[in-house]
């Protein structure tokens, strides 16, 4: 997914001379072709995320569209004030490409886990947050990223994720995609929880429970209309996210449903990361399994709760 995303930056740079790339001490060889062909528009800055975001703001104030790339934790926590003031207050078209959203960097420990980036960024005015579910959807997103007027936080998954998105669904920023029609249950997901929810819905179908999947690749602005429409007649909405439960994607869905007066609000079950730092390493899969975000656990939780509704 990351390679796809960065390759798209080079493609965009070939099409549009406003596109610049700003890395923060990335690995050797990143976007080598772009560096070779557009050396004026390719920057590799130091380990200095506050400066990097401010510099991108300065470039954007002059009409450029900077695509900034580094690890998600550093591109959200470390430079939060620069994101809020330099980018969002000024409403600048800077794209923050955040490697390893969620627990992708599980082996590297809690310093490298972006477990609350959705929480802290979704409350900032003018911010847009996207979390595509696979590389093909990422490519479709990047093709429409150029002319979006606001800052965009692009949450990257690990890469090599199962392709579940479909070309015919396209990509419109702020528009959700129904990957599976709802029944008595509706999973509402973002990022790679779409794959896990799809697998869970198949397990549930084997037990006679129809569960749909509404994939919200855009967390902000949330597709309120699609969420409300898909929730009509549903007994249970299950949100699934690779982010802290506190104030995250599930909270956003819950708030949106609660504040709507058009529908009778279904029960909402939020599945996400607990209010603890990771104490284990392992892998993204093992951490998600421990925190009951694998497909078996999602399906089991639905089976547990349905009889009590």
């Amino acid at each position: 997914m990351r390679h796809t995303c960065l390759n798209c930056v080079y493609d965009l740079a070939q099409r549009d001379e406003r596109v610049v790339f700003v890395g923060s001490d990335l690995g050797p060889g990143v976007l080598e072709d772009m560096k070779k062909h557009f050396p004026d528009r390719w920057f590799m800055e130091g380990v200095a995320e506050q400066h990097v975001v401010g510099m991108a703001a300065g470039l954007a104030m002059e009409g450029f569209i900077p695509y900034v790339n580094t690890i998600a934790t550093f591109l959200s926590r470390r430079c939060y004030e620069q994101i809020v003031l330099d980018l969002c207050l000024h409403r600048l078209p800077v794209r923050l490409i955040a490697n390893g959203g969620g627990v992708v960097y599980a082996p590297l420990g809690p310093t490298h886990l972006a477990t609350e980036d959705i929480t802290i960024l979704r409350c900032v005015p003018n911010m847009t947050i996207v979390a595509p579910c696979d590389a093909e959807e990422m490519a479709r997103f990047m093709s429409v990223s150029l002319d979006w007027p606001d800052p965009i936080y692009i949450r990257l998954a690990k890469g090599g994720d199962e392709i579940v998105s479909r070309a015919e669904n396209g990509f419109v920023i702020g528009k959700a995609i129904a990957l599976r029609e709802p029944g008595q249950v509706l999973f509402v997901t973002t990022g790679i929880l779409a794959q896990r929810a799809l697998a869970a819905s198949k397990l549930l179908a084997e037990k006679g429970i129809q569960a749909g999947v509404l994939h919200m690749h855009t967390i902000k602005p949330l597709d309120r209309e699609a969420l409300l429409k898909a929730s009509i007649g549903v007994e249970l909405v299950v949100t699934a996210e690779e982010n802290a439960l506190a104030g995250g994607f599930g909270s956003l869905v819950l708030e949106t449903l609660n504040d709507a007066d058009q529908i009778r609000v279904p029960r909402v079950l939020r599945m996400g990361l607990p209010d603890v730092f990771a104490t284990e390493y392992g892998s993204q899969d093992s951490l998600l399994r421990n925190w009951r975000l694998d497909s078996d656990a999602l399906a089991a939780r639905v089976r547990d709760i349905l009889p009590h509704l």
Binding site: V20, D40, R41, F43, E45, G46, A48, Q50, H51, V52, V53, G54, M55, A56, A57, G58, L59, A60, M61, E62, G63, F64, P66, E81, Q82, L85, D86, L89, H90
Partner: protein
């Protein structure tokens, strides 16, 4: 080491006093403001706007303008005074400083005030933005200069030094930093809170070409600015030795005049009396 006089009446000509009168107008209009932090800036901004920066007040976005960023946004009253003086905003606008429907806030906002290049207030943001603007000018082969004015307490923030390393690495000689070195930050003396010395050496070691000047000496400031960039392929820094509250004897060098949220009738009388001095 450059020294500055603490004799408030000396060294201020009518132009400097007129600009201070505009600041006082806004202070009274808002019944609050950063008096000390603004008064130390007046001659720095006066010299830049009177004789060096290229701008068109009737076309604030003129592409060939020099980019000026007041990174120490709390000194905005001095900038507002210059913007009014140059015709970016009406003089009457100063009266609505900090009013709910006014455009002039306690920190400057680019989306509201013509001539304000970037919204500042949180410290340590101006220099990274300035680096981006200077790089943009290089990409497009534009000739504009980028000027960033920081406070002294402000450069406690690490983001300034991140940006300084980058500016030197990119050899941005179109970028100049002016440090308003009035030696007082919010709590007290910079030497007490977080000593900046040896400040010139710090900037030199970060790859800047450095000069120091009395920031209230208009002739010296003019010579200094005229010499920018001091060296080819290096960003420049001008360390301006200034006096917080300059021109107001009751406020000079007094940390409690960093910011006031209410003025007594006596305060206002003292401000007017200071302006009336010859």
């Amino acid at each position: 080491m450059i020294t500055t006089t603490s004799n408030s009446g000396l060294g201020l000509d009518s132009r400097s006093r007129d600009l201070r009168a505009l600041i006082v107008r806004a202070l009274i209009g808002g019944n609050r403001g950063h008096l000390g932090s603004s008064m130390s800036l007046v001659e720095i901004l006066r010299v830049l706007f009177d004789d060096h920066l290229r701008f068109k007040s009737d076309q604030p976005d003129w592409p060939e303008r020099d980019r000026f960023i007041l990174s120490k946004g709390h000194g905005c009253l001095a900038l507002y005074a210059l913007l009014a003086d140059k015709g970016f905003i009406a003089h009457e606008t100063l009266d609505s400083f900090c009013h709910s429907s006014g455009i002039l806030g306690g920190h400057p906002e680019a989306t509201k005030v013509p001539g304000v290049e970037a919204s500042t207030g949180a410290l340590g943001h101006g220099l990274p933005i300035g680096v981006g603007m200077a790089l943009a000018g290089r990409i497009r082969r534009q000739q504009y200069r980028v000027v960033v004015v920081t406070g002294d307490g402000e450069i406690n923030e690490g983001s300034n030094w991140e940006a300084a390393m980058s500016a030197a690495n990119h050899q941005l000689d179109s970028l100049s930093v002016f440090v308003d070195y009035n030696k007082l930050q919010s709590y007290g003396a910079t030497t007490e809170v977080c000593d900046l010395e040896p400040l010139a050496e710090k900037w030199r070691s970060f790859g800047f070409s450095v000069r120091e000047v009395d920031g209230h000496d208009v002739t010296a400031m003019n010579s200094c600015v005229k010499a920018l960039p001091f060296e080819s392929s290096k960003p420049s820094v001008v360390i301006c030795h200034t006096i917080k509250g300059k021109g107001f004897d009751f406020a000079e060098g007094q940390a409690e005049w960093h910011h006031k949220s209410r003025f007594s009738p006596e305060d206002i009388a003292r401000m007017h009396a200071a302006l009336d001095q010859d």
